[in-house]
């Protein structure tokens, strides 16, 4: 795995600002440059720690799931911590 191309990081930068604007989720004390740095740091952290994540998975799941499935599992669990509604939009159903 490598880090995202700059263009994809920019898509995240634009998209998350639009999402927070639509949600009117208060963003305090953070400028655009701070947000861009945080996106870069997050992507770098994922790149540097993805092997540890995979190693932490139970062997049966680790050995039988695709890379895309591992990433989706990570995203859904992380998203659930932020917003159940958003997690539901990712996978279509939560009950």
């Amino acid at each position: 795995m490598t880090t995202l191309p700059t263009a994809d990081r920019t898509k995240v930068f634009r998209g998350i600002m639009r999402y927070w604007s639509q949600e009117r989720s208060t963003i305090s004390g953070i400028n655009k440059s701070d947000l861009q740095s945080a996106i870069d740091a997050t992507d770098n952290w994922i790149d540097q720690n993805q092997a540890d994540y995979v190693a932490s998975l139970p062997a049966t799941f680790r050995n039988n799931s695709t890379p895309a499935q591992k990433i989706l599992l990570f995203c859904v669990v992380a998203t659930m911590r932020a917003s159940a509604a958003l997690a539901q939009r990712l996978i279509g159903g939560l009950d």
Binding site: W20, I27, G29, N31
Partner: protein, 168 residues
């Protein structure tokens, strides 16, 4: 007319053919809730809104525009607002031709709560600075958020509530 008089009449608010600010509604907290029409200017792309205006009772002074705005989500950082004027003189300015908008600008800090409003001003001196706009004439007053200006650090949308214009 004298200084401070509202000589700029807004006749129409017109999204330009491309890169227009998004027309949005911001709900208030009352019952029933206010549904305020706002124009969302993006934080990561150039966006514009045009105001067709008439100068009425103008006495050859300068103009001061006020841009009432709120932030969709941010409570810190600045927005770089720009305004320019395209005058339509009688039998002279052809809308079909291109016009180079010459912007005057202000950098304004977001209000401390996202539902609160700020009133920055942009000034023009009489003459070429305001495209020699004269009393009784129409003009397009174009508003732009210069998202990549060094001062524009505010995350998220800037919601423009309208445009006010006084003689100064």
């Amino acid at each position: 007319m004298a200084s401070g008089d509202a000589v700029v009449q807004v006749l129409q608010i017109i999204p330009p053919g491309a890169s227009a600010a998004t027309i949005d509604t911001r709900a208030g907290g009352s019952t029933p809730a206010e549904a305020l029409l706002v124009y969302d200017f993006d934080a990561s792309s150039d966006e514009y809104m045009d105001f067709l205006c008439k100068l009425e009772g103008y006495g050859s002074g300068g103009l001061t525009f006020t841009l009432p705005w709120s932030a969709s989500s941010a409570t810190t950082g600045q927005v770089r607002w720009e305004i320019a004027i395209r005058r339509f003189a009688d039998d002279a300015e052809d809308l079909d031709g291109a016009h180079t908008y010459d912007y005057n600008a202000v950098s304004d800090t977001a209000p401390s709560a996202s539902g609160e409003i700020s009133y920055p001003t942009v000034t023009f001196t009489d003459g070429a600075d305001m495209d020699s706009w004269a009393d009784g004439e129409l003009a397009i007053v174009r508003v732009h958020r210069d998202f990549d200006h060094a001062d524009d650090g505010m995350t998220g949308d800037a919601e423009l509530w309208g445009l006010l214009g006084l003689e100064t």
